[in-house]
């Protein structure tokens, strides 16, 4: 049973040093193979939640399981199953893009499989000859694409994206969305993402959870939510759910 549940978040609480409650009693489940979108206003706890699922932060209360594994006690095993794209992802300034890709994928793959993965990442990043230049000279979007390529080429069971297309132009955003959807369908990958772009969420996500002040306010399939709030699009749903 638990194997069909990719992520199981229960009564999650995160109190930061200093007393700020980043997440305050959050519960939701992501089914294996689905694309789940976490949306909410700034400071509502999206990044905090994703970081806990990605084993970077430890919960102050409640529990989080990834494919049945506890993110605290089985952190290493969880990390084998996931790849995480942080809100802000950069790379070592003085390494070239290709060095960066090779270093990160080298932690997961060996030999010819590594070469395949590197090739795949280079294709995804689509940076042309810039991939051989030091990251120091990359634009924000170029760095984003580089990090994204590593995350996708890692071929994990669970992809965690914190605002995947932030900083990307219209064309590249579209390409990345298609890539993410493709990967999810083709390799049966589960995807959890956060976003402020309702268009993106509507296009990509099978289900959406709206969080506000560290708690889940509503959850459901985009179409269903629109009907429930008699809204024309997710943006209206968002405004009504959070505002009301």
């Amino acid at each position: 049973m638990s194997s069909s549940i990719a992520i199981d978040v229960r009564d999650l609480v995160k109190v930061y040093p200093g007393g700020v409650r980043g997440v305050d009693g959050l519960s939701f489940r992501v089914v294996a193979g689905e694309i789940y979108g976490l949306v909410g206003p700034n400071g509502s706890g999206k990044t905090t939640t994703l970081r806990i699922i990605a084993t970077l932060l430890k919960p102050s209360g409640g529990s989080v399981r990834v494919f049945g594994l506890d993110v605290v006690s089985d952190a290493i095993k969880v990390r084998e199953l996931i790849a995480y794209l942080p809100e802000e992802a950069g790379a070592y300034r003085d390494l070239t893009g290709i060095d960066f890709v090779r270093f990160f994928l080298g932690a997961r793959f060996r030999g010819s499989r590594l070469e395949e993965a590197v090739e795949e990442a280079v294709k995804i990043a689509d940076l042309g000859s810039d991939i051989k230049r030091p990251v120091r000279g990359y634009s924000k979007g170029m760095k984003r694409l580089l990090a994204l390529s590593v995350v996708l080429a890692s071929r994990p069971k669970l992809l965690i994206f914190d605002e995947p297309t932030s900083g990307l132009d219209v064309e590249r955003s579209l390409r990345v969305r298609n890539l993410v959807r493709d990967y999810a369908r083709r390799y049966g990958v589960t995807v959890l993402l956060s976003s402020h772009n309702m268009l993106e969420v509507e296009y990509l996500c099978d289900r959406v959870g709206i969080i506000y002040r560290g708690k889940l306010v509503v959850e459901g399939v985009p179409e269903e939510l629109k009907a429930r709030y008699s809204a024309r699009n997710l943006e209206e749903v968002f405004v009504r759910a959070v505002g009301g």
Binding site: P17, G18, V20, R21, L56, L85, G90, R108
Partner: protein
Amino acid sequence: MVFTALVKKEVMVVLKSPAFIAGLVFLVVYFGVLGRVIGVATEQVTKEAVESYVGVVSEDMNIVTQWLLQAANSTLKGRLVTVPTVEEGLSKFPAVLLIPAGFGESLLRNKTLYVYGYTVIDRVSLLQTSRYQIVFSVVKVLEELGKVLVAMEEGVNLSEISRTFIPRVEARAGGKVVDVNVLSSLLISTMMLAYMVGILGMLALMYSAQSVATEKEEKAFEMLLTLPISRKAIAVAKVVGAVVLSVIMVVAYFAGFSFIFASVSTPTSVEGSQVVTGSLWDLMQFLGSEGIILLSISLGLMLMFSGSLGLLIGSMSSDTRVAGAVAGPIGAALYVSLLAAQFIGVPLSSFSSLLGLSVYGLPLAIFASSVLGDRAIALQATGIATAVTLITVLAVVRVFESEKILIGISVRRRRQAR
């Protein structure tokens, strides 16, 4: 107007940082305490040098010698006290002068005369050189009076008389007897070595503190931490990386240092003693192969300790500014402690092994152990320093395994929970 606002912003962004303020307060307090300790040590030594009595053992019954000693005693305001043996003298006074048999007779005939001095050295400190410099100053007085006596005896002008009194002064350190000029030279070499080690340690500390903080700023850190690699491996790799980089720096800096080292000489202030120079080569010979091996180990330990301490600071800092604000004062404190060590002195006793606690002080403990001829001190000190280094490495691993690595320690003011 705009310009002053710009300057104000430059200053305020730093001054508003709690880490910077904490570092500043730490430095002021630490240096204040250290300055006081050095002050007390210096005061003590100065007092000892100015007020102390010198024991005199005269093996020469000659009337000339008796007269010379009496005259010297009144010149020195009664600071010479006759004692039966050197041992007894040393138990009461910081230094003892021995006039050999036949001294009075040879004063009338020979141009060069030897007198013997003895002193006890109980700590490795530049200030302790004043102990045997008391002997040098007494010998100088004797030499002047000796010339007067000879001039009167021969009925010639004082300026025609030339006599040189050469003091042979030995220091007793533990069970060992060391020539004081050799000791001074070794002392200077050891201190210089300690400085070199200190500078390298400081560089390694600053470097590794900045490196983790930079990695955080480069924003690759979160991705690194979610790789299926144990945090222990990541942390230890960072320590090893910091050591490798430090070694590269060591090689570069050592080339520069050895040039300075070779050209530095420190003349002692009292006439009649030789010019004493520190030589790394002499020190190596004195320490022997065992000492050199331990010294190399101490260099390795120090780099590892500095590297991990830096990582510890860097991994708990949110950015390079905080890392610099914390690592700077700590590095400076470690370095200034070494500077202070030469004044405060390293006790020549089994307690010297406690120097290992600071890791940076290990070379001094190894030196003390060689002077005392007690290898247990060096081994104990190395053991202690190894333990301290390992604890620091373990602390780094612990921080990497906790979320402090990402969100830092809370130095922020408590905010209202919503």
